[in-house]
Each structure stands twice: as structure tokens, then as C-alpha cells.
Subunit: 344 residues, 2 copies
Amino acid sequence: MLQFNIPALHTDKMEEAKAYIDSLTKPPGSLGKLEDIAIQLAGMTGEVKPDIRPASLVFCADHGIVEENVSASPQEVTYEMALNMVEGGAGISIFSKMIGAPLTVYDVGIARQVFNPKVMDCKVRPQGTANFLKEAAMTVEEAWAGIKVGYEAAKKAIDEGAGCIIVGELGIGNTTPSSAMLAAILEIDPETVVGRGSGINNEQLIRKIEVCREAIALHKPRKDDTIDLLSKMGGLDIAGMTGAIIGAAENRTPVLLDGFICTVAGILAELLAPGSKEYMIVSHDSVERGHQVAARYLGKQALIQLDLRLGEGTGAAIAYPLLQAANIMVKEMATFQSAKVSQK
Amino acid sequence: MLQFNIPALHTDKMEEAKAYIDSLTKPPGSLGKLEDIAIQLAGMTGEVKPDIRPASLVFCADHGIVEENVSASPQEVTYEMALNMVEGGAGISIFSKMIGAPLTVYDVGIARQVFNPKVMDCKVRPQGTANFLKEAAMTVEEAWAGIKVGYEAAKKAIDEGAGCIIVGELGIGNTTPSSAMLAAILEIDPETVVGRGSGINNEQLIRKIEVCREAIALHKPRKDDTIDLLSKMGGLDIAGMTGAIIGAAENRTPVLLDGFICTVAGILAELLAPGSKEYMIVSHDSVERGHQVAARYLGKQALIQLDLRLGEGTGAAIAYPLLQAANIMVKEMATFQSAKVSQK
């Protein structure tokens, strides 16, 4: 078990940032949400002009629940795509390169031995999680171990110079545990939050809803015990992301959330380490059904609406240039005084 | 008078792009609107993997209508901000630098002599336009001359390697001619499209609406004669943008529109050179009142919603990384075959 300590936002730096932004050569407020972002970044980092160099961290794991025919892709795609990621061909590879973010791919439980040394071997369970329709997905100790992988990954990235963490996941079947956990946390019927993931048909969708309902009935997860929930119905990719988000927040580092699975990890992070959500930015509104419910739970509005549903952290990497624009505004734009521009 | 010839989209290349995108290592359709953008870019350029290196072109001019107290800023700000732009301190300077776009600033009619050689001297009227509440803003010949400045600017940028044109404007008072022209084109009351520009008060807003109404009553612009409209109630910055948009479209080059003023120029371009709109992308939904009406006229949905209203082309530069992401997707993402990833 880990103890977390999330610092409060620097509200004085937010006020300082606001005043500074109003001195820049543009009509006051005319950069809209970019101004809000710059103020938020000041509160998180304690700097009006922070360094927000990005790093992408992707957590990969397999899910025993795929036995229940809840996914559009075969399980080996987790393994195959992990290799594609480190070889530069996946969505998160190309978008990380676009934004200058080093990409690190963690194997937290891919159900196959990975011989490529570019994939970080941090397997907590060599076969991935168990089928949580029949038994707990993993033990409490394993859930903590998964969180620790992400927590240390974030600290390492920050030690190496990252000022903004992009978290992503790879794990065939991982929208099912995400939906089950979100339904349990919100005490709502899974139908409200179960979506089509990477593209299941109607029959599979109905099955996926049933699986979530039955799993909740079987495990009766304790709503006030986040690790109980994560161990019974979660996944190791999700545990890794949860740890990375907490690690970023503890280090006053903004963390860009991707889509549904990632935002559920954000909720778990907030439950385990209250205050973490102040460091989270929801990058986009995913098409996946439960995403907006999850974002609302965190009290967040997304930066962009592009009907994305790829995962891997891609939405966060695609949205990152907007954070960069907000950051460049405070770093590089002239003031009325410095540029000798008249004010009314 | 210029003759324009806008080529049709390459629909075969759009189909080829769609099929190619479906072969990439991601669930089909999962990059949402980025996939649509990549298909559009293929139709415009005739290439599935086009080079869309950006160039920013800003057209600056003063407006005699500022005599009517319709602007929040004094007129000298046009001159001062043009210098700020070329010295690197303005919004469009820093965001152009962020996206690697060379920025060229054209003086089409700043009401003051500009001694900085980095500002391109293309003055059509040394004092800017006349007060169009009292007389025509400019002659028909001057309107054509302003269009020619932009048309040649776009051709020059494309000759120098640009594959995507960002158009922007600078001209204190320029939302007033934009609103008057849009109201005349749509045959609606100016109240529907007149907004607060860079931040006028209620009294000024009422005056601005009256000015537009009176000008339309005075000039009775001929709706089917775009140059008549532009010469009577337009501006030289707007003429420059109109020409640049047409120049881009003639050369099969995507053009990213910024906010309200720029989108009105897009409408003028479409009226003067039908088919131009196929090459236009609306970058963002501006807060300025008439913008969404103008975008709807062109049948366009914006890429981002960030409550921007700065102008200068900033919204287009801020949105450009999304075009870049769509472009990188087709250029760099692996296919299922190349990455040996299983499909269902």
C-alpha cells in the first residue's frame, strides 16, 4: 500500500498569471480557453511560465474478460500493437513524435512474453488479469503493484525533464473493466456507460452489458474501497495509468487524460489520492459511451471534440498543441509596454 | 478585373485516401474528424499524403469607419501591431513560429507610413478606406487592387513551398465592414451579425448596428455584384484576404480560415470564384457574434471551440496542429500489413 500526498494548487500564481495575461498585446480575454489553461498550468506548477515538455507513458495489459466475447479484436492484438508502438507505427507513436514527447511503453501484464527490449518489462501478472466474471481480476497486492509501475514511471519521466504527462493504455477488452468499475462507483446500471469499444456488434454490446451487471452482482465491490474495486473488476493497464496520474499530481505536473479508460483511471486516482483531479486535463470528448459521464464526475470539460475513440493516449497527444499554445502565449507574446502598443 | 478558375476536388483521391486510412493500425473510423480532414486534404491537393507546410499571410489596413466610434482601440493600434507582428511579439507571430509557418505581413492600407522593411509595402490607399457611412469605402479599382495583393501573396507563398495557407487580418474597426457586408449578402438586419469586436461597450454596440443599417440604406449594394459590395462597404485587409483565399484555391492549396472577418472574406472569395469554398477549412468557432452565421453560409463546421476572438489568423494557427495530425496519420502510421497486426 502506498501513501499519497497531493499538494494544493498555487492560487497566488493563478492570480499572477491572470494579471500577466491581461498585459499581453491582445484584447483582454480574446484567447478564451487558452487563457484559462495558462492560468490552470500556473496553479499546478507554481510557475507563470512553466516548462511543459511532454512525455507519453503507455501501460499495456491483457484482460481475462475477453473470454466472454466482449471485444472486436483478438487478444494477441495487445502484444502486436505493443511492438507496433515501440517500432514507431502506432497512433501514439506518430503523435508523440509530432509533439516531441518521448514515448515509453510498459508491459504490466501482456499475456505473452515480449522479447523486444524497447517494451519495459514490468509484468505484474504474466497472463494478464483473470476473467472477472468468474473470479477477482487480480489480488489487492497485484493492484497495488500495477499502480506502483505507473507511479514510478511518472516520477522517472518527470526526473528526466517532463513537465506534462500524457497517459495512455493498450489492452484488448479494457473498456469492459472500465465500464464495470465506473458503473459500480456511480451506482448506476452499466447500460449507461457501456459502449462499443473498438467496434463490437449489437449482440456483443448486449453481452458486455450483462457481463458488467453480473460481475457487479458477483463481487459486490466496496464503493469506498478503491483498491477492492480495482482488484475485483479492474485491469493492470488501468492500474498503471492510475499510478501515473497520481505520480504526476504529487509532483505538480499537469497530466493530459485521453479517452474513456484513461478518464476512469483519473477517477480512481482522485479516489485514492484526493486532489489529484486538480492536475488533470481532459483532452477530448471520446465517442465511447461512458466518457462524458466520467469527465463530468471529475468536473472537467474537454479541450477538443473530434469524435476520437482510438485510445493509446492519442487524443491527449493530439490535444497537446493547445496546451503548448497556451504556454507559448505566456512565454513569448509581447506586453503592451514592451511592444509600445496603445491601450484604450 | 481578374478572372479566376477554381479546379474541382479530386474525388478519386478522396476514395483512395479513405481506403488507405482504413488499412492503418487502428479501429476503423477511430480517429474521427481527423480521418475526414485527411480525406478532404486528398481531395484538395490530389495527393493521399500531401505536403501541407503552412505559411501565414496577414493583411493590414485602416478603416475610415472608426470615426464613428465603433471600435474599442485607437486607430494607431493597426500600425503599432503591424510592427509588433514583424518583430515577433504578436499572437500570430508566436503561433506561426510554433507551427513552423513563415509569417508575411502586408500593408494594404495602414493609415501611416511604415518604415519597417519587414512589413511588405502594398498600400492601395495610403490613408486606408474612407468612412463608408459617408461615401464608398474605396473605388472598384482599389477593391480589385486589394484582392490582387492577396492573390499574389498566396501564389508567392505556394511557389516558396507552402502547402497550406493561413490567412489573417489586422485593422482597427474591421468587424464593422465585415458585419455590414455579411448583413447585405444575407439580406438580414445587421443586429444579427454585429458583435463586440475587440470589446466595445453597449453604447458603441448600438451605434455599430446603426452604422451598418445606415450604410446599407445609403449604398444599396448590389447583392449579385461582390466587387460593388466590397468597394462600397469593405476594407483593404478584407480584400487582401479574399484574394489570398482565391489564390490558394486556384492552386489546390488548403486554406485555414480564422474568425469572423476572415470567414466573411471566405464568403466574398466563394462569390467571386465559385468553388473556392471546397479549399477552405474553418478553424474555430469565434465568440464574435456573426461568425457562426458566416461559417454556416459556407456550409462549414469549425475544428475547435476555444472561445477565441483575437483575429490576426491566430485561431487558424492554433488549429493547424490538428491538420498536421491528420496529415501525419496518413504519412507515418503503419498499416495492419506492414506492422503484422491481426484484424478480426
